[in-house]
């Protein structure tokens, strides 16, 4: 904890309210970075946080500062992209320490994982991995304040209590505000973990109430919140970059003379590109530097560039799709094998097969990538909307050859991210240009750049075959997929799905079926592949949950009953023994097992709330789907209306969420509302296609996303209550996967037409 004499303004005002945390020291940090984080004295459950770079830190000397006027400043070290973690985690600290939230302010940490612990804001991990450290941090801060007060009064610390921003002596009623105690408390060492005691969860003032608005709400609604492109530095240059149209191509030659004639264009320079696979290094190209971004864009239009050939020019979406289908029709590499699938198929009274296609898609956050960098005097400072401040810091060090303390990554708000801004190529571009130009540089990606040079959500073919016995019981399940791997971004292309990928909805199948085989089939990568909100759960859930409804139809059963029958009795499903390297989202299986009781729970809850089976108007249908993803259990019922021309609308969505112990139900609800809309976009519109290695879409005219007039009319969210004994899991991602299959199951119920290929596009047009 730090005592602040005076608040002063930071260089960049990306804080919720004004303020700067000065001189916060990192003494006595509780850093665990070796293995699964074990249960600490007051921890309720073990997590995989220790496996992440730099683990967790829970030291109030790092995260909390108190000013003499009592203002408590709390550091948010995870990036804010819309999930609300910048509010929720500091709120946990404040609640645990007995602070009054109206007297707290939140500042965004720069990238510094040595100090703050892991900052990779993806994988729906912020609450999952940091709710415990943040409770410990708040509890330690509370104890330090109580110790300072007890010493001042000469009483035992057990006789005092921090409540409502002050410490009170129970017997005498004496009271000292946090501000009065700031200096003395900040001078104390961090208490040993066994001295810290967490509050009774019944005494929370903010956690679980949903009463705390996000800290940037006023700034967002007044245009004063700071995003990636909102930084202006003296002497700053504005840049846009022409990048190779085909992955792997490089600049062969260029002519910038016409660009330089555009009034306001100052320079045309080449940007270094790396050989593929290059992780998050830039693909290279030619930059136009100008007095403002609009001029730079106009200058770029006038560039003449010849690119080298690339082996990825063979990428054509139509033929690629045929290849994936062909590959998925042949045996692949077995990655889960329960029982005897071949025997089950031979013994089957009936087999049912379906093939599903889920296209490549782009994240398209409303804020396209943008970053400002200033490389000078052996230092680099950047301002950027990054999900990975620590990784960005490391990549800047490596790219520029600078030591740890000569790089500073200031994290702005992220104008949406969905996985795209885990990759810092755009920040490295700005840094390289700043170094070349010896000036601060802001690089702005246009929407076209964003859609044509993304780290994409990979295309997939999913093929499922079921064996049914004479009583229509499912006795065998074979699921093959062919989808390029995101690991092709990091290493020589493995040309098929890897454990981290196939564990998201393929091998973790929670069904009570005796004979299960999962196989992955060949699919070379020809584009940069990344991770998109809920990653492989999108295609896998679309296939498995559509197929359940197909089985229900084929056997004359209700889809919800069929789903519950396949899930089976409440139990722990443990596919680890029959799976090659099951990945449990990086967390211990013992903490987060596959619990079919919780899975059934959300199915039954959402069915009840949605009125499953109720009478519907003509042209309406209901569909259901469930998925455990990112360790949360989420079930969705979609009601669809299909008109006489085949236009679809969604009058109602119901979603049940079981994410364990949670702190901000209001933000969980907003995430699920948004996931329904993103899910609808995946189902209806989103598709990136290639011709000769070149992306065919460019902007929101041909890469369509959901607009307000087609959004679900109502999304109802039901959060399963959970105490501290149920480990927290996140909600940023897992709302997305069940939507598309629930919608397509609803469309089948309404029309009898089964959608197996996404996007729906005009497939229903009459």
């Amino acid at each position: 904890m730090t005592h602040i004499e005076k608040n002063s303004l930071p260089l960049v005002e990306n804080v919720s309210r004004r303020g700067l945390l000065k001189g916060v020291v990192a003494s006595g940090s509780l850093i665990v970075a070796t293995t699964y984080l074990p249960k600490r004295a007051m921890a309720a459950w073990a997590t995989g946080a220790g496996l992440m770079p730099h683990g967790t830190v829970s030291d109030p000397h790092v995260f909390v500062a108190i000013a003499k006027d009592g203002t408590v400043t709390i550091v948010a070290h995870r990036s804010e992209m819309g999930t609300g973690s910048k509010t929720s985690l500091p709120m946990v600290v404040a609640d645990e320490m007995g602070a009054d939230w109206s007297r707290c302010r939140v500042v965004q940490a720069p990238g510094d994982e040595v100090k703050y612990g892991n900052q990779d804001t993806d994988g729906s991990r912020s609450l999952r991995h940091f709710v415990q450290p943040m409770r410990q941090c708040g509890a330690a801060a509370r104890l330090m304040l109580e110790m300072a007060a007890a010493e001042r009064w000469g009483v035992d610390v057990s006789s005092v209590e921090a409540v409502d921003h002050a410490v009170v002596h129970r017997d005498s009623g004496r009271r000292l505000g946090f501000g009065d105690l700031a200096e003395a408390a900040a001078a104390l060492p961090t208490p040993a973990p066994d001295k810290i005691r967490l509050k009774d969860t019944n005494s929370f003032r903010y956690i679980g109430t949903g009463s705390v608005p996000i800290v940037d709400l006023f700034g967002i609604t007044t245009g004063t919140a700071t995003y990636g492109a909102d930084i202006r530095l003296p002497g700053m240059k504005y840049a846009v970059i022409a990048r190779p149209p085909v992955l792997g191509a490089k600049v062969k030659s260029f002519d910038g003379s016409a660009a330089l004639k555009v009034p306001g264009v100052e320079k045309v320079v080449e940007v270094q590109g790396w050989d593929w696979p290059a992780k998050f290094q830039p693909v290279g190209g030619v930059a136009v530097i100008a007095r403002n971004t609009g001029v730079a864009i106009k200058g770029r239009d006038a560039l003449k560039i010849t690119w080298t050939d690339s082996p990825h020019a063979v990428y054509n979406s139509d033929s690629y799709r045929e290849m994936l289908l062909e590959n998925a029709r042949k045996p692949g590499k077995t990655v889960r094998n329960d029982g005897d699938i071949d025997g089950a198929m031979k013994a089957a009274a009936k087999t049912i097969t379906a093939e599903y296609y889920i296209p490549q898609s782009a994240h398209a956050p409303m804020e396209p990538p943008a970053a400002t960098a200033w490389v000078h005097d052996g230092m680099c400072e950047v301002w950027a909307p990054v999900q990975s401040p620590g990784g960005t810091h490391d990549d800047l060090m490596k790219t520029l050859g600078l030591p740890y303390d000569k790089v500073k990554v200031n994290v702005t708000l992220l104008g949406g991210a969905f996985g795209r801004k885990s990759k810092c190529d755009f920040v490295l571009e700005a840094a390289l240009l700043s170094k070349t130009l010896n000036a601060p540089v802001r690089v702005q990606w246009t929407r076209e750049d964003d859609i044509q040079h993304d780290f994409y959500h990979a295309v997939a073919v999913e093929r499922i075959e079921a064996a049914l016995d004479a009583n229509n019981k499912v006795i065998g399940w074979r699921h093959r997929n062919a989808a390029p791997s995101l690991f092709s971004t990091f290493m020589p292309d493995p040309k098929m799905q890897q454990p981290l990928e196939y564990s998201m909805g393929q091998v973790d199948l929670p069904f009570a079926i005796e004979n299960i085989r999962c196989e992955v089939c060949e699919a070379p990568a020809h584009s940069r592949i990344g991770w998109f909100r809920s990653v492989r759960n999108v295609p896998n859930t679309f296939a498995t949950q559509s197929f359940v409804a197909e089985l229900a139809h084929a056997t004359g059963r209700d889809p919800k009953d069929m789903l519950l029958e396949l899930i089976g009795a409440p139990r722990i499903v443990d596919p680890r023994k029959t799976t090659v390297d099951l990945w449990n989202y990086g967390d211990p299986f013992e903490t987060y097992p596959i619990d079919t009781g919780r899975l059934r729970g959300v199915v039954e809850l959402v069915a009840e709330k949605a009125g499953w089976g109720r009478d519907l108007p003509a042209g309406h249908g209901m569909g259901i789907a469930v998925q455990r993803s990112f360790l949360s259990y989420i079930a969705t019922v979609v009601e669809v209306a299909v008109d006489g021309k085949g236009n679809i609308s969604v009058p109602r969505v119901d979603t049940a969420v079981d994410c364990g112990f949670h702190v901000n139900p209001e933000r969980i609800t907003s995430q699920i509302e948004g996931a329904a809309i993103m899910g609808l976009g995946i189902a209806k519109h989103c598709e990136i296609t290639y011709k000769n290695g070149v992306v065919q879409q460019s902007n929101f005219n041909d890469y369509q996303v959901v607009r307000i007039d087609e959004a679900p009319r109502v999304t109802n969210v039901y959060i399963v209550p959970a105490g501290w004994d149920t480990p927290s899991s996140g909600v940023g991602e897992p709302g997305t996967p069940p939507f598309a299959p629930a919608l397509c199951n609803a469309i089948f119920a309404a029309t009898g037409k089964r959608i197996r290929n996404l996007p729906i596009g005009d497939q229903l047009a009459i």
Partner: protein, 150 residues
């Protein structure tokens, strides 16, 4: 030299008159509240008021704003308390928040001409403003809240 009024203050631009107003506001006038989202009038993130009418500033040349009054999110209300802004906060509309300046400017223009819009009128007016986080249900709710008074 082009002169225009932005949020009641006179500004001038000595560059190419075909520059989109958006980039003048953001990079020259130092008003970054207006956001770039697409550059083709497809997403509405850059919506401002030009003589009171909602326009996409990426599709308006700075020359077209000469002698006119431009209002951006920073100038919608001196204290940030326009009824639409208040309603946005009452309903907790934003997630990432990036599109919200454009949404608020569009909604404010709608309510200025149509104080009690129907659902269909809200949809028609707001369909040009994309929110990728998916805050539409709350946007609609906030517009109704603003219409009925916060």
């Amino acid at each position: 030299m082009i002169t225009l009024s932005v949020n009641g203050q006179q500004h001038s631009y000595d560059g190419d008159p075909s520059l989109p107003l958006l980039w003048f506001l953001r990079d020259e006038a130092g008003l970054p509240g207006t956001k770039y989202g697409c550059g083709e009038a497809l997403c509405g993130a850059c919506t401002v008021h030009l003589n009171g009418e909602a326009v996409r500033s990426c599709a308006v040349q700075v020359a077209d704003a000469a002698g006119k009054n431009v209002v951006t999110i920073e100038g919608l209300d001196p204290h940030g308390n326009h009824p639409v802004q208040r309603a946005w906060r009452a309903v907790n509309v934003p997630q990432c928040g990036f599109c919200q300046a454009g949404q608020i400017m569009q909604a404010a223009a709608l309510l200025a001409t149509t104080p009690n819009p129907t659902d269909a009128q809200i949809h028609t007016a707001m369909a040009g403003n994309i929110c990728r986080c998916g805050c539409y249900q709350r946007i609609e709710s906030a517009i109704r809240t603003a219409a009925t008074g916060v």
